[in-house]
C-alpha cells in the first residue's frame, strides 16, 4: 500500500522539483516547450552578479529568521506559559492573540496599511510623525516584521499552549514539592519535557522565515527594501514577466538553503530515535 503515496510524492514533489532544477539552466517564456533554450549556468551567474535585488533578498531572509526567533517566538512561548496558568479571562486572551492567525492575509495587509500609511495612517496621525513606513527602505522591513510578529506570536503561542496542556501535572507537583521556584521549574523540568514541541517550533520558524512572502507581496510586491527570495521568484514567473528559467534558478537557490535546514532537522530527529 506504500505504492500510491510514493507515486503521488514522486509525481507532485520530486518531478516538479527536478523540473525546476532543469529549467534553471534554460531560458524559457513558459509557452512552448520548443522555445526552451539551454543557457548553462548563465541564470546563476546573472543572479549573483548583475541582479541587484538578490543579495538584499538573502540578507532580508536572514534578518527575518533571526527576528522571528528573537522576538515573536520567545513572546509566544511566554504568553503560552502565562495563559497556561488558568488565570481569569485566559480564554479571552487566547482568542485575542490567536485572532491574527485566522485573518486572511489580504485583510492583514489592509489593516496594517491603515496603521502605516504615510499621509493618512494611524501611527503618523497620532504621533505627528512623518515616517514613510512602507516606502523608506531602511524602515519598511521592520514595519513588515512587526506585522508578521503580530501573526506569528499567536501561532507559536497556540502550539506551545497545546504542548503545555499535555504535560503531566505530577511533574509540576513533584517540582513544587522539591521546592523549585516557578522559573526554575519551567527551565529545568517543563522546557526539557517539551523537547518535541520545541523541535516543531524551531522547524516552523525556519520554514516560515524562508517562505515569508505574503505580507511583502501585499505591501509592494517585494521591491524597494522588501526583497525576499520567494518574492523574487514570484516577480519573475507570476504576472506578465515570464522568466521561467531565471525564476527557477532563484527557486533552486531557495530549495538548497531550505534543504540545509531540513537536513539538520532530520539528523537530529533520527539521532533521537536511535537513542
Amino acid at each position: 500500500m506504500i505504492g500510491i503515496p510514493t507515486v503521488l510524492v514522486v509525481w507532485l514533489v520530486w518531478l516538479p522539483a527536478l523540473g525546476s532544477v532543469l529549467l534553471s539552466f534554460t531560458k524559457w517564456n513558459g509557452f512552448k516547450f520548443s522555445a526552451i533554450q539551454w543557457v548553462g549556468t548563465q541564470n546563476y551567474v546573472d543572479i549573483a552578479t548583475i541582479y541587484p535585488p538578490f543579495w538584499p533578498a538573502i540578507r532580508h531572509n536572514l534578518i527575518w529568521l533571526f527576528f522571528l526567533f528573537v522576538l515573536p517566538t520567545v513572546l509566544g512561548i511566554v504568553l503560552a506559559v502565562v495563559l497556561d496558568r488558568e488565570m481569569w479571562g485566559s480564554r479571552f486572551y487566547q482568542t485575542a492573540f490567536y485572532l491574527p492567525v485566522v485573518l486572511s492575509l489580504a485583510l492583514v495587509g489592509f489593516i496594517w496599511q491603515l496603521f502605516y500609511s504615510t499621509d493618512q495612517g494611524l501611527i503618523n496621525e497620532v504621533f505627528g510623525s512623518k515616517v514613510d513606513w512602507y516606502g523608506d527602505p531602511d524602515v519598511n522591513l521592520w514595519a513588515v516584521l512587526v506585522a508578521t510578529a503580530w501573526r506569528h506570536t499567536g501561532y507559536i503561542m497556540l502550539i506551545y499552549l497545546a504542548g503545555l496542556k499535555g504535560i503531566d501535572a505530577s511533574l509540576r507537583e513533584a517540582a513544587a514539592v522539591d521546592g523549585a521556584s516557578e522559573v526554575k521549574t519551567f527551565f529545568h523540568v517543563i522546557f526539557p519535557v517539551m523537547r518535541p514541541i520545541n523541535m516543531i517550533v524551531l522547524v516552523i520558524v525556519v520554514i516560515e522565515s524562508l517562505r515569508a512572502f505574503d505580507l511583502v507581496w501585499i505591501v509592494n510586491k517585494g521591491r524597494n527594501g522588501l526583497e525576499l527570495i520567494s518574492a523574487l521568484v514570484s516577480q519573475n514567473v507570476i504576472g506578465e514577466a515570464t522568466r521561467y528559467g531565471f525564476g527557477s534558478a532563484l527557486a533552486v537557490i531557495m530549495m538548497v538553503i531550505s534543504s540545509v535546514f531540513i537536513a539538520i532537522y532530520l539528523r537530529i530527529v533520527f539521532r533521537e530515535e536511535r537513542r
Partner: protein, 447 residues
Amino acid sequence: MARPAPRESHLAGTLPASVGGFGRRSLLRGALGVGALGAAGMLTACGDDGGSGSGASAKAGNVKFGINEAKGSGPANERLQAMADAYAKKAGVTVSVNAVDHNTFQESITTYLQGSPDDVFTWFAGYRMAQFAEGGQIADVSDVWPLDGIGDAFKKASTAADGKQYFVPVSYYPWAVFHRKSVFEKNGWTQPTTMDELTELMKEMQGKKMTPFAFAAKDAWAPMGTFDILNMRLNGFDFHMALTKGEKTWDSPEVRNVFSTWKTLLPYHQENSLGRTWQEAATSMAKGECGMYLLGTFVVDGVPTEAQEDLDFFTFPALDQTIGADALDAPIDGFCVASGAQDEEAGKAFITWLASAEAADAANNSASAPFIAANSAASTAKYGELQKKSVEVVQNAKSIAQFLDRDTNADLANTVITASLQEFIKKPDSIDSITTSIQQQAKSILG
C-alpha cells in the same frame, strides 16, 4: 532580439482560419524546421493583399468573452457588460461573460492564454500585445481591418512586428499634468506652456508652501509615466520607441540625461513617494497640498466627487524646442481573439462590432462614467469636459506611446525597470550605476 517566435506568427497569419486547433499547431511545428527566413519573406509578401474587406464577412456566433473588470467594480465593468449585452441582442447570439478582477486578470494572463482562454478577451495595445502575437497565443485579425472610424494611429498600435493586426481598440486615456482649476484661479496661475513657465510656477507653489507635483511610486509602474514624458521631450518619440524595443541602450548618454533632468525635478515632487499609492497622491492634490499631478485620466477615480468637476490638465511642455511637445502617453485598451478560440470566426465578428461606434455608444450610454472611445464616429454626448479635452489633446498629438510597461518587453519592464526606477528615486545620485545595471540585465533578458 533574434527569437524564433516571430516566424510562427507569419505562418499563422497566412493560414485560413478554418484550419484550426491541433492541425494548425502541428503544421506550425513542422514548418518551423523549414528555412524560416525565405518562408517568412514569401509569406508576408502574399499576406498583405488578402482580405482587406470589412469584418462583416466573419460569421457571428456564440462567443465567450473574458473581461478584466470584476462584476460590481464600477463603470468599467458596466461598459463591457453593456457591450456584451448589446451585441448578444443585435446578433442574436449568446455572449458568455467571464469577469475577472483587473489585476488578477493581468497577472494570470500567461496561464490564462495557455489554458482554455475565452474566444475574445480584453487586452492592451503595444508590445504587450505584440509579444503574444509573436508567441502565437493571439489570432491574426488583420482581415477585420480597416475598421470604420478607427484611425491610422490606432492601426499602428494594433499591429505586431510582422505587420499584421492582432488587436482592435476600443478606448484610450492620455497621461497629462492634472490640477484643480479653483486652486489655479485662486492664486492667479495659468497653465504653463513652456518649461520656463512651469519652473516659475513650481517655484511659486513652493513659496506658498505647496508641493508642486504630487508623486507616488509604491506601485512600481507609476513613476514610468514621468520617465516616458521626459524621454519623449528630451530625446524624441523615435528614440523612446527604439529604446523600448531594445534598439537603443539604457546606459546611453540620452537615457542618463533623462535621469539627470528628472533628478533636477525631484525636489519639486512629493517626498516619500515610495510608500505612497497613486490614490493617496491624487488625494493630496485634491486637498490642495500639491499643485499638480502627472497621471492618466483615471486620476478622477482617486479624487472625491466634488473635486472631479474641478480638474483640468495640460500636456507637459517642451524641454527641447527642436523636439517639441507633440508626443504623449495614451495607452489604448481593446480586444484580442485567442488563438485557441473555439470559434475564431465568431470571435472576429464580435471584435469587429466591438470596435464600432455603435458598441462605444452602447457602453457609454449605460455606464455611470464614459470612456474615451477610439472610434471617431462615437457619440461624445456623455463626455465631460475632461474627456472632450482628452480627445482634442490626443488628436493634436503627432505621436502616441502606449506606456513604458506596455511598450517594452514584459520581462524587462516588470522585473528590472520597475525596481530600477524605484532605486533611482531612492538614490538620485547613482544614475550611472543604475543605468549600467539596467543595460546589463536588458542585455541578458533580450539576449
